[in-house]
């Protein structure tokens, strides 16, 4: 065992922290208010190497692991979750790197780290969320092409992406429900593709979310991720294993950020003639918040480390995601409470953190799905 970060990891974390602290606070409130993707920040982050650091060197990345990705995400979310989601511009690159053909890797990965392209992964549909096997978007084979028809919902980067990895039905006739799917890369400038940005989200408003329509969108058959057909479902499950750890690190980050702000505030704020921090009820709350954050972080790092060492543990990953999501919501709620009225208004950032934190309990598998996964590992099929 070794619970310490390597020097390299410490440096990466420090660099991420410095970048986020230097860049995010001045613009975060404004991007949230305008519900706008922080394009300038994304470009800078690309230049500094923060984007797609898990992408191998031959495809333009740093060849680091998902543990390092999680650490950077945590540091970014600690300062501002909405801005932090510039890291999600590689969403789907894990899939291409793991399962894509050499041509796909060469074509789609390098633009992401260079700041020349944004991608996303489109899985959820209006009537298929947690129950992802029920998606209806159809990719019909016509000669050397797929023709795609259907709709996707809640798609991160949907209205700003250059290409998307889209989870489609390719073999609706297959006997096994698990073998009916393929992931198809779709450039967003193809005719028949339509994206409608969703506004008025509760939080992470600087992160783009859209609903998508595909009307007879034609792509070459080579746009199927990988060479084998019918593998889409297992590919997507694997990607969830990775991205759930990243989502978990978001919960840790937003909680840590809220805790930092709360500590600062209770030391300054005086009531009844003394700083709030001198009251034991406040001290205990701070102690509990910090403990939850530490627990969630340790689980998240462990889950990330296991992935990087070829020991993907879906139960542990779900545990980390569920705990970290709940910790994010719990700790931002406590932090807002400690700020009182000041927490409720936009001036102190707490209300934004409170809104932002909630998403971790919903995306990349709702916490109920995490519990299903954990329970299945514990009980088997009952």
């Amino acid at each position: 065992m070794d619970f310490e970060l390597t020097n390299r990891q410490k440096q990466i974390r420090m660099a991420a922290r410095e970048f986020a602290e230097g860049e995010f606070p001045v613009v975060a409130r404004e991007y949230d208010r305008r519900e706008e993707f922080p394009r300038e920040l994304w470009k800078k982050a690309c230049e500094l190497g923060f984007i797609g650091l898990f992408i191998k060197k031959e495809y333009g990345g740093l060849g680091l692991g998902f543990l390092e990705f999680a650490m950077v995400m945590e540091e970014f979310w600690r300062v501002d979750p909405g801005c932090g989601n510039i890291l999600l511009t590689t969403f789907g690159a894990e899939l291409i790197q793991l399962y894509g053909t050499e041509e796909q890797k060469n074509k789609y990965l390098p633009p992401l780290t260079k700041g020349k392209a944004i991608m996303g992964t489109a899985i959820t549909e209006p009537d298929a969320g947690s129950d992802i096997l029920s998606i209806l978007t159809l990719a019909r084979r016509e000669g050397d092409h797929y023709v795609i028809n259907g709709a996707k919902q809640f798609i991160t980067n949907g209205s700003i992406a250059h290409y998307l990895a889209v989870f489609c039905l390719t073999h609706p006739e297959a006997d096994s429900r698990l073998k009916r799917f393929g992931v198809i890369l779709i450039e967003t400038d193809r005719p028949g593709f339509g994206a409608l940005k969703i506004t008025g989200k509760l939080g992470i408003r600087a992160s783009d979310t859209a609903e998508l329509r595909f009307s007879d969108v034609r792509v070459p058959k080579d746009n199927l991720v990988g060479e084998k057909e019918g593998e889409g479902f297992s590919q997507i499950m694997q990607i969830f294993n990775i991205n759930r750890v990243i989502a978990a690190s978001q919960g840790v980050g937003v909680a840590q950020g809220a805790l930092d702000k709360a500590i600062q505030y209770v030391k300054k704020r005086k009531q009844f003639g003394q700083p709030l921090a001198t009251f034991q009820a406040i001290q205990f709350k701070i102690a509990e918040m910090a403990t939850w954050v530490e627990a969630a972080r340790t689980l998240t790092y462990k889950a990330g480390w296991m992935i990087d060492h070829g020991k993907v543990d879906p139960k542990l990953i779900s545990v980390a995601k569920y705990i970290a999501g709940e910790v994010g919501v719990k700790v931002t709620n406590d932090a807002l409470q400690l700020h009182g009225g000041y927490g409720y208004i936009a001036e102190y950032d707490m209300e934004r953190f409170y809104r932002d934190a909630k998403i971790v309990e919903i995306y990349e598998g709702a916490k109920e799905i995490e519990k299903n996964t954990i329970a299945r590992e514990l009980l088997g099929r009952v």
Binding site: M1, K267, A277, F284, E288, A295, K371, L379
Partner: protein
Amino acid sequence: MDFELTDEQKDIQKAAREFAEKTFPEVAEECDLNETFPMELWKKACDLGFVGVFIDEAYGGPGLGFLEHALITEEFSRVDAGCGAILTTTLGSEFILFSGREEQKKKYLPLLPKGEAIMGMAITEPDAGSDVASVSTTARKVKGHYVINGSKIFITNGSIGDYLVVLCVTDEGEKIKSKRLSPILIETNREGFEANKLERKLGMRASDTAEINFSEVKVPLENLVGEVEGEGFYQLMTVFNHTRVAVAISGVGIAQGGLEKAIQYSKQRRQFGSPIGSFQGIQFKLAEMASLIEAARALCHKAAWMVDHGKIDPKLISMAKWFSGEVGVKVIDEVVQIHGGYGYLGEYGIERLYRDAKLVEIVEGTKEIEKVIIARELLGR
């Protein structure tokens, strides 16, 4: 980073599990009912090398770390926490190990892993619990001896210990409370020593607990742990940083044992025509319990690893301790709930878990004290 146990650690864990599974179940209920310390079990555990694994080879131990001690503690507590208390027979040896003089180490430590002596540490008094600096048992110097007077309460191994490290006031004139104290080794066969076993504890009844009176107990000056007086409070804090990790993980062990029983039960027990494990209400409960246990265990492993690598982190240790204590109580509450009436009765051994788990939130620093420590580290004074 490396989140995996070494092969040696896995072997230790497995051996501890096998030993506990083989030997605890047949005596656990009886030790609980009769409130007796499992002497035979303790001897066997010593023979197999489970007791005092953190004691250096030079003093008769295998020279492993507190992480290994924690791994054994979890496995023992998983099967039965009361029987697992055989591991507390080295309590106080940390004082000797860290602060003791060479002669003391040679005299008092080797007997412990061999199963030739049991020790304990006597800190708490009727009027000084969490407020440990307020202890009032005095050790006065009289003609080359300390003469000890006072009383201690809730002392683990108090009525079965061969010697105890007793936290005494050695300098009554010192104004700063925390500088008055010194740990003194007291053999329990000394005249004026009296221990009364405390009965009818809520749980952990196989573990011996006593109140102790010292009336003019004379011990040689060389029984002072270490060379100088007045360091007792600080020495104790260091000892707590080690012992709290073991207590913390006992909470994890109890919870893990309970979870496994609940899983087994919910697969067998049928209601409304199907196993209760098929109901999502039960599935989610189990998922939540398992998640909390995993989080608590990760904190304990980290805290123990840091201790073994010379990076004692009192904040992390306190986090591990309160969190694991609370997880133990919370998880076992759900374990009883899942077992319904059968959990409430003695037959399944579930009600014992409910009683045993609570101790972790109280012993070795209440969870409130852990929070005081965490908050102080975060907020300063």
